[in-house]
Amino acid sequence: MTTAEYELCVASQLGKLAEISDFVGEAATRAGLDEGQVFEVQMATDEACTNSMEHAYEGREDGEVHVCCFIENNSFVVRITDFGKPFEPAEVPQPDITLPLEERSIGGLGLFLIYRLVDDVEFARDVGGGNQVTLRKHRSKEE
């Protein structure tokens, strides 16, 4: 798979997250990522799609989330696009993971995980007026 692109379009419903995960898992496996890398990409995608559904669409279930997977410069790329309200990653507080559990705040964990699970994360406004999140995971070896 060097030029193949995989695309999935689902409604902005949390119940669709499992379908998205299976879709990305298959594309990542075909792209030659190992089991651990596949899991990390699936999880980062899951958290990014959750953000789209819960924040960009504010829980509205009639929106659309597009997930597109492809290979670029030996990286497996997942691009998630929504058409909800603008998402500003800089406004999300960073969780302090060194605090004792009792003092932990409960927000920001999804974004925190995304940054740690993939090699590169890029947020952009889509030309169609939505949010576009691009996740890149380097492939460990050439196919």
Binding site: Q13, L14, G15, L17, A18, S21, G36, F39, Q42, M43, D46, E47, T50, M53, E54, P95, I97, T98, P100, L101, E102, R104, I106, L109, G110, F112, L113, R116, L117
Partner: protein, 111 residues
């Protein structure tokens, strides 16, 4: 996703099976609160069948920890955490804060 609560003498054993993403996290939250509402604050989570545990599920867990550990009345202890889920707990800094046991029998026996 499946959640099964077993009431034991020393604690509640909650068995989690399948995917715990943002769609499933409210059910986990409810199961943990339901135990608290019965006055049970000593809980073991059997994680052996968990395939995925996202940030929403982690939040439900953190909320339950805070509720259970308050006034030293109890704890939530984890049993048989699969490696890839353990990796998520490591990344999010949960691992050093919680008690994780190799198996359910040891976790239940720890109370």
């Amino acid at each position: 996703m499946e959640i099964k609560t077993t009431k034991l003498k020393r604690c509640d054993l909650i068995t989690l099976i399948g995917r715990f993403d943002s769609a499933a996290a409210p059910a986990l939250d409810n199961a943990l609160r339901e135990a608290n509402e019965r006055g049970v604050y000593r809980i073991v989570l059997d994680m052996s069948g968990v395939e995925y545990f996202g940030s929403a599920a982690i939040r439900a867990l953190v909320v339950a920890y805070k509720a259970c550990r308050r006034f030293n009345r109890g704890d939530v202890r984890l049993a048989a955490v699969p490696d890839k889920i353990k990796q998520v707990f490591d990344i999010t800094g949960i691992t050093p804060l919680v008690n994780i046991y190799d198996d359910v029998v040891t976790a239940v026996g720890s109370f």
